[in-house]
């Protein structure tokens, strides 16, 4: 299970403050703690900022790279900001994210090609958020087809079936799960399946419990990557345990005490 830590995001007040004050230590500390918690990659998102976002992205990427050496997920709705992040990135990168919309794909597929980056692709398009699993699969197929035309290896694709908050769109939690197995059959090698996990519990009272329950369900449905909070110990324990139950890791009594793969 590929874990992308979500915490370096300007939407969090403490991160917004660190960005404003260029507090490199605070960012580096957050990066190290997420890696210690089990992150394989870190998402980098400037959040809403009064400054030039490309500049903030560059600073964040450089600051995080000073502290740790793992792949970074460059997270911005603006292709120019994504490009700035990719240019600053020394190691492997992911782009977070494109959608099935032509305009987005036109902008981001070439960037993924140029930088050898993974590409997270949300299964939404010009028509908006799909309402069921079949509509998600239809958009996923269009994204895969475009990637193949462009020559992007299909295992560089991370298809996201769009997880919506359970308190707002309860029926969609199941539709997203149902879409996952269909994504795997679209191409060879199959694309990765990723979720932005915390969205499922947005605005609810039991966030951690809802997150970790949905994570286990998603893993069973074939999800192999997630953007989540690696500082949530209960969540990370469920992630390990689900991996054991899915025969992805060898069981032993003290498996939670060992470093995850």
């Amino acid at each position: 299970m590929f874990v992308i830590g979500e915490r370096i995001n300007g939407m969090f007040r403490s991160v917004a403050r660190a960005i404003r004050e260029r507090d490199a230590n605070a960012i580096a500390d957050l990066a190290r703690r997420q890696v210690a918690g089990g992150a394989h990659a870190l998402d980098i998102n400037t959040g809403p900022t009064g400054e030039e976002p490309a500049e903030v992205m560059t600073w964040l990427v450089q600051t995080v790279q000073e502290a740790i050496d793992i792949p970074l997920s460059i997270d911005s709705p603006k292709p120019a900001v994504v490009a700035a992040g990719l240019r600053a990135c020394r190691g492997r990168a992911l782009i977070n994210s494109t959608t099935g919309a032509q305009e987005k794909l036109d902008a981001l597929l070439p960037l993924a090609q140029e930088f050898g980056a993974g590409l997270i692709a949300l299964t939404i398009d010009e028509r908006g958020i799909p309402r069921n699993a079949a509509a998600r699969a239809e958009i996923a197929l269009a994204i895969v087809a475009r990637a193949m035309e462009t020559g992007l290896p299909t295992d560089h694709l991370y298809l996201d079936p769009i997880v919506l908050p359970v308190n707002a769109a309860q029926d969609q939690c199941r539709e997203a799960l149902a879409a996952m197995p269909t994504f795997r059959t679209l191409c060879e090698p199959p694309p990765h399946i990723i979720i932005g996990l915390s969205n499922v519990s947005q605005g609810t009272a039991n966030r951690s419990l809802i997150n970790r329950t949905y994570l286990a369900m998603a893993m069973a449905a074939g999800c192999d990557a997630a953007i989540l909070d690696p500082l949530d110990k209960d969540l990370m324990d469920v992630l390990r345990t689900a991996g054991i139950l899915l025969n992805q890791e060898i069981y032993c009594d003290s498996y939670l005490q060992s470093q995850p793969a």
Binding site: E249, I250, Y251, C252, D253, S254, Y255, Q257, S258, Q259, A261
Partner: protein, 320 residues
């Protein structure tokens, strides 16, 4: 087809030269693999498998005569025995089994065991594997004296088992040795033991795995498949199963009736003198295929055969 893996097997060096705080003329290094063994096209292994020869400080009275034969002059003299293994038979390293301290054998003292270790270290330039008698209480008395006698030589010392590992871990940490961790042909227990050992402060690259005891016809396929699972898990990134593996072959191979029965009892099986070595060599050859990094053998004939097999398996094909 070329297969690539996310994980890598730890690299472990046994023995220390003068510059490294020991007295060995040479060291050996195993592991470092990024693929399954001997697959042309996959990542080549940086270190070939090694042949260790077993030296016992006491042999049982019913030891098979065909095993005694070539070793007759050195039985009872471990230092001479070790020298013969290195000088005459070309052993890569020596596996000294300290059997005499066992209460049911000679109940030898820890000091006597330590003296044997010193004598063997002085006799050969090769790195040393040291294995206890298997009696937990006595091993726990012997190990600290033995590791101290070999301080700084970076020996591989064992065997740590789930029921008895703490004293050995402490002794190996104190005197700079690597630990041999044994599980009873059980991948789950092997992983558990490795976690417990590392939790005591032993780095994961100072552990070598001994995944059990079996021989051809007597559980070989179980040990083979467990070794294979361990190696696959290690290559998939499980650091608690990413250690090099060792197989002690001779002990089990010479227990097989095929290795022991005289020709008078079973004429159709052919010459008894060759059956034991063949049983050792065939068992070792299988373990090499499942990922063994060190095979421990007794008979010079099987050593020669296994060394030939390793040379053939690791030879670079013409035209590549």
């Amino acid at each position: 087809m070329r297969e690539s893996w996310p994980g890598k097997i730890f690299t472990v060096t046994i023995g220390a030269t003068a510059a490294e705080g020991g007295t060995r003329a040479r060291t050996v290094t195993v592991g470092g693999h990024a693929a399954l063994p001997f697959l042309p096209g996959d990542a080549p292994s940086p270190h070939r498998p090694l042949v260790a020869m077993e030296v016992l400080d006491a042999v049982p009275p019913d030891w098979p005569e065909h095993l005694r034969g070539p070793l007759a002059d050195v039985i009872g003299a471990p230092a001479e025995w070790a020298r013969q293994c290195v000088d005459v038979y070309g052993a890569d390293l020596i596996c000294l089994r300290l059997q005499s301290p066992h209460p049911d054998w000679q109940d030898a003292s820890p000091d006597a065991a330590a003296a044997t270790v010193r004598a063997v270290l002085a006799a050969v330039p090769a790195p040393l594997i040291i294995v206890g008698c298997g009696h937990a209480d006595k091993d726990n008395e012997v190990w600290p004296r033995v590791t101290e006698a070999a301080k700084g030589e970076r020996c591989l010392v064992g065997v740590a088992v789930p029921e008895n590992y703490k004293t050995l871990v402490v002794a190996c940490l104190a005197d700079g040795h690597t630990i041999l961790a044994e599980a009873p042909i059980d991948v789950n227990i092997q992983k558990q033991l490795n976690i417990l050992i590392t939790e005591m402060g032993m780095p994961p690259d100072r552990i070598v795995l001994h995944p059990g005891n079996a021989s051809l016809g007597y559980g070989l396929e179980y040990e083979y498949s467990i070794m294979e699972r361990i190696r696959l898990a290690g290559l998939q990134g499980d650091k608690m199963l990413a250690q090099p593996m060792l197989a002690i072959v001779a002990d089990e191979a010479w227990k097989a009736k095929e290795a022991r029965l005289p020709e008078t009892a079973m004429p159709v099986w052919g010459a008894a003198a060759h059956r034991g070595p063949a049983w050792e060599a065939a068992t070792a050859a299988a373990f090499l295929q499942s990922g063994a990094d060190i095979v421990v053998l007794l008979h010079p004939e099987s050593v020669a055969a296994v060394k030939r097999a390793i040379a053939d398996l690791t030879a670079v094909p013409a035209g590549t």
